[in-house]
């Protein structure tokens, strides 16, 4: 059957026939790099236009509707605008760190792409510790924000950086606990093992209410970790102009913007992998005919469908809820999410030991 993994294997064989092993590795790395960068570009374009349309419809507006059919080319036009804009560096800024920060942000998002299974047997790096790797690398992203905030030499930037630092560091904990509950059920950190354990049903169905609680905690925590409303204190435009990227313009700003959207995609992909079965099709018990039809849909479509469903959820949150204050934000994490997450982890562990899940 036609699938992405077949194409990948075919490319690998073709390269193997024509070049020596070392060159094959080099070529494949280059191809993977180009693919990741183009995925970045495409995701940036799609997610920005999706966000603007979703926000418009939720606020009874029309959204962008001038450039291209129904305004679908608006984000392409914006990209061109950002590309030709002057990328300024303010006079009092720490120039080295100021220019380094956006690249660090984008590199972190690129690294996070590695262990995601985009389709059946198709991922960049089948890592033994996939989930831990993701939560480890994503903790580096806070550094780029702190760096940008400090190097801008601007009070708004610094305040935004401080807030986002406190926010990301604390919400990482509950995101980690939510992820751990699935790891406990699966007994593996490997993304492929986690997906394979959901062949007979996704964890959100198999895991009863403890998994639902972890799913909700996970959603809240990733919304906070990606600095999106209602947790967008780091860039709270009504208080801090633009928070940590106040001083950035042109392509450097675009890199931050892109990194934010790609991070949203990545955390949603992780959520889809952990709770919604990654590329696993939707199966119901013993309905052989139904299951067969579901198998016919390509695995990559399943993966992207689930991921975009979660992205839509996060956008839905953003355009519904008002922004939290910093004390409310920390209260929510330390007084509600973390204790509930810990008790929930205990419940999940008991469930895994007693085999209460299907």
């Amino acid at each position: 059957m036609w699938s992405i993994s077949n194409i990948a294997n075919w490319v690998n064989e073709w390269l193997g026939k024509n070049f020596s092993a070392a060159w094959v590795t080099v070529f494949e790395m280059v191809i993977a790099g180009i693919l990741v960068i183009s995925l970045f570009a495409v995701l940036g374009l799609i997610l920005v236009i999706m966000e603007r349309k979703v926000s418009a419809w939720m606020q009874i507006r029309l959204g962008p509707n001038r450039v291209g059919p129904k305004g679908l080319l608006q984000s392409a036009a914006d990209t061109v605008k950002l590309l030709v804009k002057e990328a300024m560096t303010p006079n009092g800024a720490d120039k080295f760190l100021f220019n380094l920060a956006p690249y660090l942000a984008i590199v972190v998002s690129m690294l996070l792409m590695a262990p995601i299974a985009f389709a059946k047997d198709f991922m960049l790096w089948d890592l033994n510790i996939g989930v831990l790797y993701v939560s480890a690398i994503s903790s580096v992203s806070v550094i780029s924000i702190l760096m940008a905030g400090w190097a801008s030499n601007n009070k708004y930037s610094l305040m935004g950086a401080m807030r986002s630092g406190a926010q990301i560091v604390s919400y990482e904990l509950s995101a980690g606990l939510a992820i751990l509950s699935i790891v406990v059920l699966t007994g593996s950190l490997n993304m492929n093992d986690i997906i394979r354990s959901q062949a007979d049903g996704w964890w959100i169905f198999k895991g009863h209410f403890p998994v639902w609680i972890s799913f909700i905690i996970f959603l809240i925590a990733i919304t906070a970790e990606t600095n999106r409303a209602p947790f967008d204190l780091a860039e709270a435009e009504s208080e801090l102009t633009a928070g940590f990227h106040t001083e950035y313009s042109g392509m450097k700003f675009a890199l931050f913007f892109l990194a934010e959207y790609v991070n949203v995609f990545i955390v949603c992909a992780i959520g889809a992998t952990l709770f919604l079965g990654g590329w696993m099709p939707f199966h119901i018990g013993h309905w052989e005919g139904f299951n067969h039809i579901m198998d016919f849909i390509p695995s990559s479509l399943w993966f992207f469908g689930k991921t975009f469903f979660l992205i839509f959820l996060i956008m839905w949150f953003r355009w519904t809820f008002p922004r939290l204050r910093i004390d409310q934000l920390l209260n929510l994490e330390w007084k509600y999410l973390l204790p509930i997450g810990m008790i929930n982890l205990l419940l999940v562990t008991a469930m895994a030991i007693l085999k209460w899940h299907f």
């Binding site: 760190l97 702190l146 990482e172």
Partner: protein, 173 residues
């Protein structure tokens, strides 16, 4: 020289170079950032050795935890963008001497020591093996030290909460 060796030398250059810059720079925030790169380089070294778990833990603990803590304390204490004063010559000299002595001592020890091949069976550094070893109660199991460390951490946590609570009651009075 194959690809793996090239990567090793690149990582080593990253670790040593950013470590050196971290001590020589006069801006404290830059020093923290260079320290961060040095620690990332160490994590890269673990990845290079295929010790993925250790590498991820290195990133979680040192990069995501300790460096962020250092940066936070810089934010809360240091004046923005101000350079540290130049050190006096004698101080630099003594510091260099102390560093050299330490380095020489370690080098001497390494040169004296004869490295023999390990005879214990090597367990693959997978998460499963690490977990089983960590909580194993058999011979060589680490359950007791693990629990002792966790009790220590719990005591630290409780201590933090007590300190935080006391301040709050004083304020209300």
């Amino acid at each position: 020289m194959n690809g793996s060796t090239i990567i090793f030398y690149m990582l080593a250059a990253l670790i040593l170079g950013s470590g050196f810059l971290s001590v020589t720079t006069r801006q404290i925030f830059r020093a923290a950032i260079f320290l961060l790169f040095s620690l990332i380089g160490v994590a890269g070294m673990y990845f290079w050795m295929d010790y993925e778990f250790i590498a991820a833990v290195q990133i979680v603990v040192y990069v995501g935890g300790i460096t962020v803590l250092i940066i936070f304390s810089i934010f809360l204490t240091q004046q923005a963008g101000e350079k540290l004063p130049e050190q006096s010559m004698s101080r630099m000299l003594f510091a260099a001497l102390a560093a050299f002595c330490g380095f020489a001592l370690i080098l001497l020890q390494i040169a004296k020591h004869t490295f023999t091949n390990s005879t214990t069976t090597i367990t693959a550094p997978t998460v499963e093996n690490i977990g089983n070893e960590m909580l194993g109660v058999n011979k060589g199991g680490m359950a007791l030290p693990f629990e002792v460390v966790s009790v220590l951490l719990l005591a630290a946590l409780v201590g933090c909460i007590v300190i935080a609570l006391r301040q709050k009651t004083q304020q209300t009075n």
